[in-house]
Symmetry: C2
Subunit: 127 residues, 2 copies
């Protein structure tokens, strides 16, 4: 993804790429994080590519499909980062009801003009 694109377009492209990778090739998410990256998953704090990928690939479900409801984005400050805020639902294979979730990402630019995930916070929204 090129950093000079329209922010809303970058956010939308990132979100589509992230959840498509999650649903189809979860281990590939490792390419979106770096060693300083942080994930807070349902309150559990995890740092670093390997730990984040280990967490995401060990979740107690294999097949899943994320459906996105909303994507909001804002520039995060002078370092050219971008905040992306997502709401949607998560359909697990064999489950009748989808789970609602909210997630935020803080994307930071790479020297190559792309982005990586510096901050990631995920919460299920229980009814």
């Amino acid at each position: 993804m090129a950093a000079q694109m329209d922010p809303d377009a970058v956010a939308k492209a990132f979100v589509e790429h992230y959840y498509s990778t999650f649903d189809n090739n979860r281990i590939g998410l490792g390419g979106l994080y770096q060693e300083a990256s942080m994930l807070t998953f349902e309150g559990q704090k995890i740092q670093g590519v390997q730990s984040i990928v280990a967490k995401l690939t060990s979740l107690p479900f294999q097949q899943c499909k994320h459906n996105i409801s909303t994507v909001d984005c804002q520039p995060s400050g002078p370092a050219s980062g971008m905040l992306v805020f997502v709401s949607g639902n998560l359909q697990l294979a064999g489950e009748e009801h989808a789970l609602k979730f909210s997630q935020m990402f803080h994307l930071m630019p790479t020297p190559q003009g792309s982005f990586y995930v510096f901050n990631d916070i995920f919460r299920l929204n229980y009814a």
Copy 2:
């Protein structure tokens, strides 16, 4: 709020202060934003203290009570900012059912050692 406190304690104190002010003295929220601050409220982008306060004080309800379910926080990078991610529900006066919401704040330090809200994204989580 002192910037040198434990981040989780700062986040919790900020969240309590923010929603208490929202519920009891909404116009007082202006003190938490600056001119560069951004609010995205249900997809509507607003910037600057006056515009943000005008939006928050013109919402189509007067009395409300925020109940917080979860607060997550992470440092946002080298500029000593902090990301705060909140889920909860919003009870409006005279309404039987509370509205679920998610909100994220990016707090940035002030020269006085406190914080202001640089980014704010709010979404209702419809069932």
